[in-house]
């Protein structure tokens, strides 16, 4: 295991940690908006960390480029989705919603 | 070029015509295109049947890839025979539907109707011709999707729930078939039917193959509406537009029967299915129940279309019964009845369609007094109805004759008696309608509207009626083909006839 691998795994672990904390937040936070907040923030940071970790695993070829594209894409779409969600929730006058975890899954696919 | 590719044409022609129809866009040219294509397909399939009868099985490698790797189209007598029926009925129904759908389908949807019809035809031909188990599933789905669409085109809102029920049941059936084919594939590593047949023999008693058989039989039984799984059929046939019902009743379930025959005899082999698995008892039981229960229900219906729909389920019972007798004559009677039943049900539903065209209803009460006012339509209905009953000189008699002969060959005296008893029930449900038509006075409200149906409906209807009688007298064409097909199927499975 060389140096790059160690860094990469550290990054990956950090990424999973944030993703996991986001998931916990989704369950534990009291209302809709806080949940979206938890999910979207951790989502972005987890994506960055994980992809960075994966980048270190590649040998800087086509796959590297693909990963970077994916990262860029995620960084554009994921916050937008959260934003759209929150805005339409307010538009619809919704404050408390119990089925949020599933709704999160939905927005990801809609993009 | 044509000569060599004849085997593929019955699928390809309607398949190409369907998108062309969308591009044409206007109803009239589409109708002409559809009828022409369907007519060509029926001529080609006649030619194919002739070739098959004289020179033997046609095998066609699509894409030039040989059998177990590529998809093979394989035409033997059995599918050529059914193909002739399907394409011919399709052509006649198209002729019939030109006027019929005017009253039953919104004008804006006529183009889609013909397109869906072509797709359905392509799917059915594909199911018949293909020699590949998975390809069969794909074509099954083409025809099914087109069928759901066709059923739901009617103006009556009840067609929607009927179509949905059909969709759910049909998809479950197709998925079961998919599971079954998957299990077979898992065990044998091939999808080609012939290859499957030879390799299944190596694993005859394997539990996986047993399960595969069970799933395929159940799946196909849903598609062909065998008794306890028939619930989708009556509402779908009742509420669909008449032209659609005429087409489906005489082709779709028949093709499913063919699929059952193909799987049982060609792929699994009769001795495995019947000797080792004892399927014949189950099939026979359900077939007999279907004959009695559904004929009885048919006699209880207020709507003529649903009477005939239940009658279809009962008639499918006869076909399955023929298969379950496990001898050449029985199988032959099954195949023969596929063809013959297509002729009778086609004519009957066309007649009902003609009545619907004039009266906007298919209730028995609408039939009152029609004997005088629509004499030609009702005469056609009468003759085709007699054929359903199995009166001599009609095709119904011929298939029943062979079925009973087959039962007696196997010394199933009770089965023979049951078959004949079943036709008594047919007397009841057909008789009710005829009585209303000939011996009751029409309701006041209807009197003014009634006149004979237009020629464009009468001609295809009467062609079928005449075919009913012609093939009931000169049986050489149908019986020879069916006999040959049945013998071939028994040989294919490399098993001798199962003697009691």
């Amino acid at each position: 295991m060389n140096f790059l691998d160690i860094i990469s795994s550290l990054l990956l672990f950090a990424g999973t940690f944030f993703a996991f904390s986001g998931a916990v937040g989704l369950f534990r936070f009291p209302d809709f908006f806080t949940r979206v907040h938890a999910a979207s923030l951790t989502d972005s940071i987890a994506a960055i960390l994980m992809i960075a970790g994966l980048l270190l695993q590649t040998s800087f070829d086509l796959n590297t480029a693909k990963l970077i594209f994916i990262l860029v894409f995620l960084l554009i779409t994921s916050p937008t989705a959260s934003h759209a969600l929150a805005k339409s929730a307010r538009h619809g006058g919704l404050l408390l919603f119990t089925e949020k975890p599933t709704k999160q899954g939905g927005t990801n696919q809609d993009d | 070029m044509l000569e060599q590719n004849l085997a593929a044409l019955p699928i390809i022609l309607p398949l190409i015509a369907a998108p062309l129809a969308i591009i044409l866009g206007r109803t009239m040219p589409i109708w002409i295109l559809a009828t022409l294509v369907s007519g060509c397909a029926s001529i080609i399939s006649l030619q194919l049947l002739d070739t098959v009868l004289t020179t033997g099985v046609i095998s066609y490698a699509v894409g030039g890839w040989q059998a177990p790797w590529g998809i093979e189209l394989r035409i033997d007598t059995a599918n050529a025979f059914v193909l002739v029926a399907v394409t011919a009925i399709s052509t006649l129904v198209l002729l019939f539907s030109k006027d019929s759908i005017v009253k039953e389908i919104d004008c804006s949807k006529h183009a889609l109707f013909y397109t869906a019809h072509l797709l359905c035809l392509a799917g059915l031909s594909g199911i018949l011709i293909t020699g590949d188990a998975f390809n069969l599933f794909v074509f099954l789905e083409i025809s099914s999707l087109a069928t759901y669409t066709l059923v739901s085109l009617a103006r009556d809102k009840r067609c929607l729930t009927a179509a949905f029920r059909y969709l759910v049941m049909g998809t479950i059936g197709a998925t079961f078939i998919l599971i079954g084919v998957g299990l077979l594939y898992m065990k044998t590593g091939t999808l080609n039917m012939l290859d499957l047949a030879t390799r299944i023999d190596l694993y005859d008693s394997s539990r996986t193959i047993n399960t595969g058989l069970a799933f395929i039989i159940v799946g196909v039984s849903i598609k062909l509406a065998l008794f306890p799984l028939h619930m989708w059929l009556p509402p779908a046939y009742t509420h669909a537009p008449s032209a659609v019902t005429a087409f489906l009743a005489s082709t779709a379930t028949k093709v499913a029967v063919y699929v059952m025959v193909r799987f049982i005899f060609t792929i699994f082999g009769a001795s495995y299915v019947f000797h080792s698995m004892g399927m014949e008892t189950i099939l026979m039981l359900f077939a007999i129940i279907a004959i009695f229960k559904c004929s009885y229900t048919a006699a209880m219906q207020k709507n003529v279309k649903s009477t005939l729909a239940y009658s279809s389920v009962a008639q499918i019972g006869y076909m399955v019964l023929g298969i379950s007798l496990v001898n050449v004559t029985g199988l032959m009677s099954g195949l023969l009845h596929i063809f013959n039943h297509a002729l009778m049900k086609g004519a009957l539903f066309m007649a009902v369609g003609a009545v619907f065209y004039r009266l906007g209803s298919a209730d028995i009460s609408a039939f009152k007094g029609l004997g005088k006012r629509m004499p030609l339509t009702m005469a056609a209905f009468t003759l085709a109805g007699l054929s359903i009953i199995g009166v001599p000189l009609t095709v119904g008699f011929i298939s029943k004759w062979y079925l009973v002969t087959a039962a007696l060959e196997q010394s199933h005296w009770f089965i023979a008696a049951a078959v004949l008893g079943g036709s008594l029930l047919a007397v009841v449900y057909i008789g009710r309608i005829l009585e209303a038509a000939y011996f009751q006075e029409p309701d006041e409200a209807n009197v003014a509207k009634i006149s004979e149906a237009p020629l464009s409906m009468l001609i295809p209807m009467w062609i079928l009626v005449i075919a009913n009688i012609y093939f009931g007298i000169d049986t050489s064409f149908t019986t020879e083909a069916a006999q040959h097909a049945a013998e071939l199927l028994f040989q294919n499975g490399q098993v001798m006839e199962v003697k009691p």
Binding site: - | F134, F137, V138, E141, S144, L145, Y148, T149, S152, K157, R158, L160, T161, A162, A163, F164, R165, L167, V168, T171, I172, T175, L178, I179, G182, Y185, M186, L191, P235, H239
Partner: protein, 118 residues
């Protein structure tokens, strides 16, 4: 133990299939029926893909000469089947929309009075 290792995948897939099948036949709501149908079919797809797997193999895209590849044929079949599935779903859902418009309901037990239950 061997038995479990050999077949655990299939057993879970069978369980999934049956869950989907159960939803289809027991659900009251037509949309849920369609969801069930999709779950049912997707599970069947998994059965197919499972059988194509070769332990230690890779995706059937040529890398070099000495690689062990999984079987491409089930993949092809399931690609087809997925598309078939979505086609059915689309038609089914359109039917549901029309049913809602015609009857005002998409609950199975609310049709029964109108002699055309699903």
């Amino acid at each position: 133990m061997n038995l479990i290792l050999d077949y655990y995948n299939y057993w879970i897939v069978v369980f999934l299939m049956m869950t989907g099948f159960y939803i289809v036949i027991s659900a009251n709501n037509l949309v849920k029926k369609v969801v069930g149908l999709n779950i049912f079919q997707t599970s069947v797809f998994m059965m197919y893909i499972s059988m194509g797997k070769v332990a230690g193999g890779t995706a059937p895209i040529v890398v070099d000469d000495n690689t062990l590849y999984s079987n491409p044929l089930p993949h092809v079949l399931i690609l087809t089947a997925i598309v078939v599935g979505v086609a059915t779903t689309a038609v089914g859902l359109s039917l549901i929309i029309r049913i809602k418009r015609a009857y005002g309901t998409v609950e199975e037990n609310e049709f029964e009075h109108e002699d055309d239950a699903i």
